[in-house]
């Protein structure tokens, strides 16, 4: 009898407060699993943002810091510069990373900070109740784009991975999705690679993860997965945009 899957030791016993079916939980597991598999949990410091994952300092079984909105990359920089032995990572939503924190994420990439960023792109502001994010799709209805986002008013959604991949210090950039077991496994691989890059000291790594927000999309969790697949994946192509080999 072998255990195929069990709750990761990288997570605490606390119950996740995320809404039913929210894939924030899925990604939490993957990060925890990777930290365990790389055997770095006990020298790891996670930085959680302002957003639905603001409370996630309670979920990971390692040292954690809660950062102000958008500034997790700066906080992580501070930690890593003080103690380069630590494995430092940020976990950020699209409002946090792509909107208010755009300068901070660009500049960790620019400086090539040796940290890892897990970027949850769910095309909306979750925590605050469903406002438009820079990643909200054209036509998507949110509480601040009630007739659907239009190009004329707000431009086309920002492709963060593509933007960051132009920056030299961003040595690993990959976009993944958690819409299926296969993609979830790929996501884990990408997260692992990004952390390995940090361990080898090469530079900054980011994994953009297409994720769902059933509550604010006003869809069931299952329909949310479908919506992600039908709408987000065509606009946000999955794949590796930058990896150490390529960077050389």
């Amino acid at each position: 009898m072998t255990i195929v899957y069990d709750k990761s030791k990288g997570l605490t016993d606390a119950e996740l407060h995320f809404c039913p079916g929210c894939t924030h939980g899925t990604v939490h597991k993957l990060v925890a699993e990777v930290l365990i598999e790389l055997d770095v949990l006990d020298r790891s410091v996670g930085v959680v943002p302002v957003g639905c994952s603001a409370l996630s300092y309670d979920y990971f079984n390692c040292d954690m810091q809660q950062a102000s909105h958008g500034r997790a990359p700066a906080v992580a920089t501070g930690i890593k510069r003080v103690n380069p032995e630590l494995v430092v990572w940020t976990y950020q939503g699209d409002g946090d990373l792509a909107s208010i924190g755009a300068a901070e994420i660009v500049h960790v990439a620019h400086r090539g900070e040796k940290i890892t960023t897990i970027f949850i792109n769910n095309a909306i502001y979750g925590m605050t109740g469903g406002q438009m994010a820079p990643t909200t799709l054209i036509g998507q209805k949110t509480t601040t784009s009630q007739d659907g986002r239009t190009v004329e008013h707000s431009g086309r959604p920002l492709k963060v991975a593509e933007m960051l991949a132009t920056i030299d210090g961003a040595k690993f950039v990959e976009r993944v999705s958690v819409d299926s077991p296969a993609n979830i496994r790929k996501t884990k691989k990408a997260i692992k690679k990004a952390f390995e890059l940090q361990l080898s000291g090469e530079g900054f790594g980011i994994v953009e993860i297409l994720s769902t927000c059933p509550t604010n999309w006003a869809l069931t969790p299952r329909d949310s997965i479908k919506w992600l697949r039908d709408n987000m994946m065509p606009y946000y192509p999955l794949g590796n945009l930058r990896s150490p080999e390529e960077a050389k």
Binding site: C19, P20, A54, L55, G129
Partner: protein
């Protein structure tokens, strides 16, 4: 002189906020002084939800209810546990007995047990449990006229939900009846 201070509490989705708003709106339509104050949490969906409603013939000071509620309406168990203490001595606690097995522990208040969900199911729509409870409350406290409530309901739910009104009215009436029996 009417001076109602009502707490409506339950879990998200049970319609406790709307229940409170209907009372408030009705009060306003009858030119009474009213206020409606929700609790709001980080998870504004799921979890528990509650609001404090005031309907009064004199201007309202604080919209906050401390331990002076004239009625406490609880739709689920955590709400009973949490808000039982806020009922003023001599006031009423209305319990949704469909979901709450526990009894009110206080002796200095009147307790009523209304099987809202069951009645709603009997009426053929699980969603009107809150209206059943509203009816029970109106019957007991009578802060506004029932016709006003029917008008207010349309405003609160929106004109496009008008077709549900007969069902809602029926639920309210049913709630009134049920509790009448209990008074007896």
């Amino acid at each position: 002189m009417i001076n109602e201070k009502v707490i409506c509490a339950g879990f998200g989705g049970q319609g406790v906020m709307k229940m409170g708003q209907i009372i408030t709106y009705s009060g306003m339509m009858e030119n009474k002084h009213v206020s409606w104050l929700p609790s709001y949490g980080p998870e504004m969906r799921g979890g528990t939800a509650n609001c404090a409603v005031m309907v009064s013939e004199t201007p309202i000071g604080s919209p906050v209810i401390t331990n002076d509620a004239t009625a406490v309406i609880v739709m689920n168990l955590p709400s009973l546990v949490k808000f039982e203490e806020n009922a003023a001595p001599g006031s009423r606690i209305l319990v949704n007995s469909s979901l709450i097995e526990q009894k009110v522990s206080r002796e200095d208040v009147e307790a009523f047990y209304i099987p809202c969900n069951e009645i709603a199911l009997e009426l053929g729509n699980a969603k009107v449990a809150n209206m059943v409870m509203l009816g029970a409350y109106l019957q007991l406290a009578n802060p506004v006229k029932i016709e006003t409530v029917f008008k207010a309901m349309v405003k609160v739910f929106g004109e496009n939900k008008a077709k549900f009104m007969p069902m809602n009215e029926e639920a309210i009436k049913k709630g009134m009846e049920i509790v009448k029996e209990q008074i007896k």
